[in-house]
Symmetry: C2
Subunit: 181 residues, 2 copies
Amino acid sequence: MAVTSESTRLEGTALEAWRSYLQSHAGIVRELDADLIAQHGLTVRDYEVLLYLAQAEERRLPMSALSERTMLTRSGITRLIDGLVGQGLIERVSCASDARVSYARLTDTGYEKLRQAGCTHVAGIQRLFLTHYSADELEQLAVLLGRLPGAGLGAACTAADHGCTAEADTLAADSGGCSVS
Amino acid sequence: MAVTSESTRLEGTALEAWRSYLQSHAGIVRELDADLIAQHGLTVRDYEVLLYLAQAEERRLPMSALSERTMLTRSGITRLIDGLVGQGLIERVSCASDARVSYARLTDTGYEKLRQAGCTHVAGIQRLFLTHYSADELEQLAVLLGRLPGAGLGAACTAADHGCTAEADTLAADSGGCSVS
DNA sequence: TGAGTGTAGTTGACAGGTCAACTGAACTGG
DNA sequence: CCAGTTCAGTTGACCTGTCAACTACACTCA
């Protein structure tokens, strides 16, 4: 018989909740990523970065801002942006008022790419996450998950920001023709 | 004004739920990993593998079984096991009845390591996840998250399996002395 | 004004994982 | 019984991200 302490023992429902939390996340993120790569050659992180830029003033953000939002290190962001610059989706712009900062700015190509990829990505989130719940249940989930550490930061959200701003509205995917006004 | 389609638009509560889901996961996993590395030199994946082995018959599993459970590729598992073998926590054992399979078997050192790390890990899950909820709420979460694709597989669970089997009971952390009967 | 400190970004070395190609062993049907 | 196929595992090439060290600039205060 094992010695157990009430305070640190995982059992029953707590176990279920935690397992489902971890497992579902692994599965869903993996599939979203696979879809996006297959159809648009973008990773979810790439997408996320393009989206942040699209929502930003003048479609540009300093590297450090991107690093905070994505929860990547500054060097991680440098390399990710290198890749997107290579694809022509982003360009680097230096800052007039502070020579230390360098902006990543979304190009027109990048914006177009984002719009196309948005269709895929939003549809994926619908299919893998949202369709499993009623409006009430989504409300419950939002409340419960919102209590966890890290939730509610400006970070680590992927397609989630669709609809956050007027700018983003133009990106909310119309899965049909993906038309934007 | 943007053109939007009802079926693929993310908004309001759905947005909140999805964001919290993603963000909280990133934050929690990152912190659990940091704790485990700092205190025991193990990643969460390492821990997970040791745990699967501890729960298995004769404390050993074929590589392919580990690869399924962890959601790593077979080559990923080969390399992860290489590392744990190097630390003396696991040893490779060939299979008598099928020369293709090679078992990973937990050593006594590995078992001891797992017991120690379990204290840290379970305490972390308590602190970062469980304490934010009542029993009822955990039940709700288990039900809701259990519906998502991937939940309920035998995969991607980390400390979660504490308590799944009699074997695992001996690993359920007593955060005090970590004593085991 | 200029020394010291803090901040933004990049770079080299490396860790951890994937994919594709391979080896060797085990089933299967003429 | 042996040719073809499938399966388990490893390996090489590569990708993505981290950490630590570094550059270059900006702020502060005597």
